[in-house]
Every structure is written in C-alpha cells, then in structure tokens.
Amino acid sequence: MPVAVTALANASAWAVYAVGAALVIGGAAGVVLGRNPVHCALALVTTIFGIALLFINQGADFLAAVQIIVYAGAIVILFLFVIMLLGVDRKESREPEKFRALTPVAVVVGVVALAELLVLADVHYWATGSKETSGALNGPGTNVEKLGQSIFTGYLLPFEMTAALLVIAVVAAVVLVRRAQSGQRSQGAQRRAQAPPPGPVRRPDSGQAVTSGRAPVRQESRQSGAPQP
C-alpha cells in the first residue's frame, strides 16, 4: 500500500511539474512575442503562476504565496496601471532589424546551449559547494517557521535594510513622478490663463476637432473653471 501511495505522489509531482513548466514557458513566450503590452502583462501573470506552482512542488509554500501576492497582485497591476496611464497599449512598430543576418547564428547558438544544458543536467552533479549556516530546510517545523527563524535571526540586518530600501523606493517614485506633474500643472495653468474663457462662444466644429485629440485637458480645464462665478 505505501508503494502505491508513493507512486501516486511521484506521478502527481511530475504532473505538477509538467503543468508548471508549460505555464512558465508559454507565458514567457507570450511576454516576448506579444504585440500588445497588455497581453504581455497577462502572459507575465501566467508565468508567475507557473513559478508559484513549481515553488509549491518544491515545498516553498510561503514563497509561492508571496510570489502570487507581490508579483501578480502588486507588480503586474502596477505594470497595467502604467500601461493604461500612459496609453502605450498600441502595437509596437516593427522596423527592420539591423542584425537580421545574424538571426540563424543566434538560433544555432541557442539550440547548442540548450543541448549542452540538457547533457549537463543528465551527467553532471550540479549541487556542489558548501552549505550556509542558516539552517536545514527539512526537519521539524513548517516552511514559514524555518524561513522566519532564518530571516529574523541570521539575516536581521539585511531585512532591516530592505525596509529602508522600500522607503527610499517610495520616496524616489514620488519625487520622479511629482516633479514632472508639477511642471505639467504649471503649463496647464498657463494654458488656462491664455485660453479664452469657456462659454457659448466656442464653435461646435472646433469642439469636435478638439475632443478627438486632447479630450482630458479640456475636460480638466472645464472642471477647474466651473466653480468660478
């Protein structure tokens, strides 16, 4: 009976690996080959789910959860937010490549490298090198317990430094985006001061011509001009 159970666990592990590998490779191909950036972002989500699946298959439960939460929940949403904000979700223009003649060489080198990898995976023992002293992965306690114990004892200073790093990143993002925005706002204020006041003077055909081009600016100026008496 335990033999059957072991065989079943073995088969399920291989099945999970196959599904995860298919998700990873398919998603990566979608990211590289997709013409629309939104589709690329969704393919990136597929890859991340596949990676999380492989993490679970290797017993890294906490990292799988964090992978889904941080990557799929925060980073890809940030990507999509920027894509929508900038309006760059149009198709990429494909100019002729400069090194078109080298494409077969690149394909050959890639195939040779992949063959070498497969041979090395078969004949070579990869996991060499001395272990760290951060603790064993197998043993008593859950995965989260061991990971937390290792991070909060041996890696406490790097952990604190990541906190500082995140704060610096947030401040940097605010500074980077806010400076451009304040410049744009002053330009908008100048344009508003130079523009004639909105009212019934505007001709209908010019309004149509404007709405096709820069509708948000006009809407903003009208909204800001509305509370004036």
Binding site: V31, L63, A180
Partner: protein, 101 residues
C-alpha cells in the same frame, strides 16, 4: 517532491534565456521591464531548487530578498518611465538615446 533538481534548473535556464532574448529584441520599455521580471523569476526558481537540493533554507532567504529588491526596482523604473513618457510621448528604447556616447 520527487522531480529531480536538474529539471527545474534547466527550466529556469530556459526561462532566463527567453527573458534575455526578449530584453534584447523588444523595443517597448515596459515589455523590456517585463522581460527583466522573467529573468528575476528564473533566478528565484534556481534559488528554491538549490535550497531543496542542498537542504538549506538560505536559498529561500535569498528569494525573499530578491522579491523585495524586484518590487523596489519596478517602482523606481516605472516612475522613470512615467517621467520619460511625460516629456516625450510614444518613446521606444531606440528614441531614448541621450546617454549614448
């Protein structure tokens, strides 16, 4: 847990190669960032695999820190991209060559 480690390592190497090729081929800056994320994910998979093969939790610690650094990198990088696109709309990686010598 019976899939041998080299299978994961080969898969991670393939993922890293696809990400690197995409970073070289694509021109949209956002898609290039996504390819960098692919490469980071490949390295994370390698770390977790070696952590299992060596029975050492240090690899998973490294993945934890890589996640934090990736989040910070994406925040700053997307801020830079937003600032660039506000200055000049519709820029690809070929157009932003002011730092070229």
């Amino acid at each position: 847990m019976s899939v041998p480690g080299p299978w994961y390592l080969v898969l991670a190497a393939c993922l890293f190669g696809i990400g690197a090729a995409g970073l070289l081929v694509r021109r949209n800056i956002l898609v290039m960032y996504m390819c960098i994320e692919l490469m980071l994910n490949a390295v994370n998979l390698t770390f977790v695999t070696f952590s299992r093969m060596l029975n050492d939790v240090g690899g998973q610690d490294a993945v934890f820190f890589v996640l934090v650094v990736a989040a910070a990198e994406v925040v700053v990088g997307l801020g830079i991209i937003v600032a660039i696109y506000r200055r000049r709309s519709g820029a690809t990686a070929d157009d932003i060559s002011s730092l070229k010598g």
